[in-house]
Amino acid sequence: MSAEVSVPIERDADIVTARQEGRQLAAAAGFSSADQTIIALAISEITRNIVSYAQRGKVTLSRMDEGGRRGILIVAQDDGPGIPDIDLAMRDGYSTAKSLGVGLPGARRVMDEFELVSALGKGTTVTMKKWLR
């Protein structure tokens, strides 16, 4: 019944592992199946960004229990190139990879809390939370 899972992200197959772990943890935490899917989707987007832009990193999934409020915490971390303009990267449709540019803004939309910290040349950390209703 360990409450924390860490998944190394190095290849595209790790994205699948990460979102499956996320779904399992979300289910154990009591999230509805709709919310489990949303959580898995957000994990998919954030870990894909690691593979696409930072090559390697990791995602840590854990349950939160803060004074009766319960939920799930997702921290995706990499030592990649970092993001030069965070505001721009968070914008819908912005992509340096000619993709949809929906990953970051979409993940922020579906989670309750979202924080992106990035330093050029040092890496990027995305922290997301979703609370049980």
Partner: protein, 323 residues
């Protein structure tokens, strides 16, 4: 067998409540429980285990005298089980092991109280009597070394408060569950998805739409599409009072999601004002299949469905060929 089912239920509840090892450790910290408490409790172990029946009786006698506890006492089966669990509880309390297994047993007892509709304050009253009884027994027994007795009793009290925390949490959690379920059914009533005929659903949207409700509407529509194998959905928004950008986004999301599942959505009941504000909000009406009123919408739906029936009827299914 019944025990196993009960155990599984308690374990499931523990998961739901987030009662894992870490949480249990935190709870011990909250009551100030330390390793040094274990030998102190051990010192009064025999005293407690030799008189469990006395203490259990104290607890239930107190309850019998209370109107508020009638439901627990009235059912013989529940009362018997509660007695047995209470006896086991008192024995476990002085064994020095307060891990997952111990918590599981507390949860089972708590669930029983919840089922019997016992209120937290009633439980607390009876538990207080029981503790008082144990306390005076301890003090009598160790009258030559009152300080030791006092310390032992204080250590035991930490476990008692640890237990109270668990029981009260179960009672609250179960009560909230009832409220959650009631809210669920109220919500369901407020977002009805009606099947008009085979493969045709009607979704009348009435009243104020906020984010939470929009979510529920969409979720229940999508499930109904799958459950009824719906092909066309008529979404009637005659009853929607005002449309702002948030509401229109919600409606658009619902339409998009239904489409992803392969259902056509026809929007009806769009007043001129609402249509205008949609345009003003930058929503392309061309993206929506809109029909003036509900009647027209249903006719359009029949047309789509009728056409489908015709084409599938003239064709005898896919020819099975090798791959």
């Amino acid at each position: 067998m019944a025990d196993e089912i009960q155990q599984a239920a308690s374990k499931a509840l523990m998961r739901e409540m987030g009662l894992d090892e870490a949480n249990i450790e935190r709870r011990k910290k909250i009551v100030g429980f330390e390793a040094s408490d274990v030998p102190r409790i051990a010192a009064i172990r025999d005293l407690v285990t030799q008189h469990t029946d006395d203490y259990v009786t104290t607890f239930f006698n107190h309850l019998s005298g209370l109107d508020d506890a009638r439901s627990l006492i009235a059912s013989r089966a529940i009362a018997e089980r509660a007695r047995q669990l209470k006896r086991e509880h008192l024995v476990a309390m002085v064994q020095g092991e307060y891990g997952m297994k111990y918590v599981e047993q507390r949860i089972e007892l708590g669930t029983l109280y919840a089922k019997a509709g016992l209120d937290a304050r009633v439980f607390l009253g009876a538990f207080h009597q029981l503790l008082k009884h144990i306390g005076s027994a301890v003090m009598k027994q160790v009258d030559r070394k009152p300080l030791d007795g006092f310390e032992s009793f204080m250590s035991l009290k930490k476990i008692a408060f640890f237990d109270i925390g668990l029981i009260v949490d179960v009672l609250v959690f179960e009560r909230e569950r009832v409220i959650r379920q009631q809210q669920e059914s109220i919500r369901e009533l407020s977002t009805p998805v009606l099947q008009i005929r085979e493969r045709l659903l009607l979704l009348p949207i009435i009243g104020v739409i906020d984010t939470q409700r929009a979510r529920l509407i969409t979720e229940s529509l999508l499930r109904s599409i799958r459950a009824n194998r719906a092909k066309v959905v008529v979404m009637d928004i005659t009853g929607v009072a005002t449309i702002d950008s948030k509401v229109s986004n919600h409606l658009l999301q619902t339409v998009t999601a239904a489409r992803l599942m392969g259902a056509h959505v026809i929007v009806t009941g769009l007043s001129a004002e609402v249509a205008q504000s949609l345009v003003a909000l930058g929503i392309e009406l061309s993206k929506l299949n809109t029909v003036g009123d509900l009647q027209g919408g249903l006719e359009e739906a029949e047309r789509i469905l009728g056409y489908r029936v015709l084409t599938t009827a003239t064709d005898a299914g896919p020819a099975p060929e090798g791959s």
